[in-house]
Subunit: 325 residues, 2 copies
Amino acid sequence: MATIREVALKAGVGIGTVSRALNGTGYIAEETKKKIMDAVEELEYRPNELAQNFFRNRSGFVGVLVPNLEHPFFSYLTKYMERELYKHGYKCMVCDVDDEISRQEEFFEMLRRNTMDGLITCVPIQSEGDRSGILRPIVAIDQNLGKNIPIIRSDHWQGGKMAAKLLQKAGCRLVLLLSPKRPHRYSAGLRYQAFEQTMEQNGCEVITLPVSADKMDFGYSLEEVRKHTEYLSGADAVFATDLIAAACLKLAHEKGIDVPGKLKIIGYDGLPLGGLLYPTLTTVCQNIPELARCGVETVVKMINGRRDIQQEYVIGVSMERGGTV
Amino acid sequence: MATIREVALKAGVGIGTVSRALNGTGYIAEETKKKIMDAVEELEYRPNELAQNFFRNRSGFVGVLVPNLEHPFFSYLTKYMERELYKHGYKCMVCDVDDEISRQEEFFEMLRRNTMDGLITCVPIQSEGDRSGILRPIVAIDQNLGKNIPIIRSDHWQGGKMAAKLLQKAGCRLVLLLSPKRPHRYSAGLRYQAFEQTMEQNGCEVITLPVSADKMDFGYSLEEVRKHTEYLSGADAVFATDLIAAACLKLAHEKGIDVPGKLKIIGYDGLPLGGLLYPTLTTVCQNIPELARCGVETVVKMINGRRDIQQEYVIGVSMERGGTV
């Protein structure tokens, strides 16, 4: 493989000039640049990216921290973030935290050690102290991590309200709200508050049933919902995230409860799997591509030292009508 | 932030000695090492990983190339690969090729430029020439990419046979096989061959209906299956990947076809979403964690220059009984 020295020799310039031309870090006459590029092409010279990164003090990587890639919300989000990062010239380093919250710490350590130019996190960070000594930007999805960490989130308040209004229009009076035990830890918890408030303002009864938000897999959704089986037959409707809503639909089928005739079900997230269920799940759809686009744009702006950054970006949601309401 | 110079000064040694101690690249007396580590701790010195990578000529990254993260098979595979890479001290750089096959090329370019220490690909590579000048190892999942590229795959032949035997035992005589148009491009195509052969050897009729393997999302599965609606009511059973099988189940519900009474459905992959369907999907389960473990172990061995590498690793499959057969 050709070296930078050979390129310089061929182009009749110094090594420093070749380096400046390739890295775009100084003025080079057009004619000289052309000579260098011709030499690069002829010799099939490939700059060593490790060397370039070292001299530029940037890695070209942005980390994406997710709680669980098995959950389709996070695999879609990762998919779209990877695409958006790519458009901006960044590579996507993914970390699935799962049950090991300590893996988060290691990603912060990587930010300190310059392995990443920035980080987008979808995982709640436990304490303020964790982030000391980090000079590279962090952007949070759906989590309020404090000052200097912009938050990108869906308009969950609007989403919860939309779900409530749809059920009211359908004549529901007694509804089950399956929500995490500590929804206030996430901005996503706003949807449950908005739902409850809107239902109760209109004289409907809301029974809140706790489901754990700590695990996020399919088997777990079913287990969690089975604990509340007795409630299903007495209620008019259910509101929950898509995975939990899908588990409710399955349970209703098992118990011979007609959906939507006897029980209406409305999901939250708008995951494509809702389309494979029977009937198709009615759901409040989060705009995952837009969440990803906005998250990436914000972290890239911060990497580039831009100051026109908002503390919060709120992305609109929409209702996707299936056959469960 | 402390510099390596300050650490050297504090420990009373030269900068080169500190560098050797931290990188483990030469003999250092235990006593000296201790002095250096004490200084590192006291000064909270954090080595710049970009510099370390440059001097070691390794990046610590392994690329994972997938056709579509929206497909749960690939998001689980990525999840487990990321975990396994982490155990071996590597970071996971993910690339979702989707429809842009050219993105593959860029990953090969990164292998050439030392941005990655190795690559695990789940995407079929189009031509032999693409890989010229790559000195870093590549491992393939389910694809035969030629000599020097080990292949990790499920025992698809056994899987296809298991599905056929189960349907025969259930008394099926006329079955629909929904398979990609060019299954021979993938080792996964073996399952369709084994299924067809086993069914026909036992006097059963197999009608093969083409579904495209190029797109991999949920909406597309439904569209593809709807093209073959007329066949569903005349057949005893369907064999297809989980996503296509789920779409068939939905279509059967829509058409009022009783599953499993009138139509039996057997999936392939063993994705958790099968557990949310009603009835639960019966499916041939690929061992995704083991595919990931084996793929990562192989690429890491190759990075470390080991020669005890097989050309092919075949991972066993198992039958997961749900309620659709």
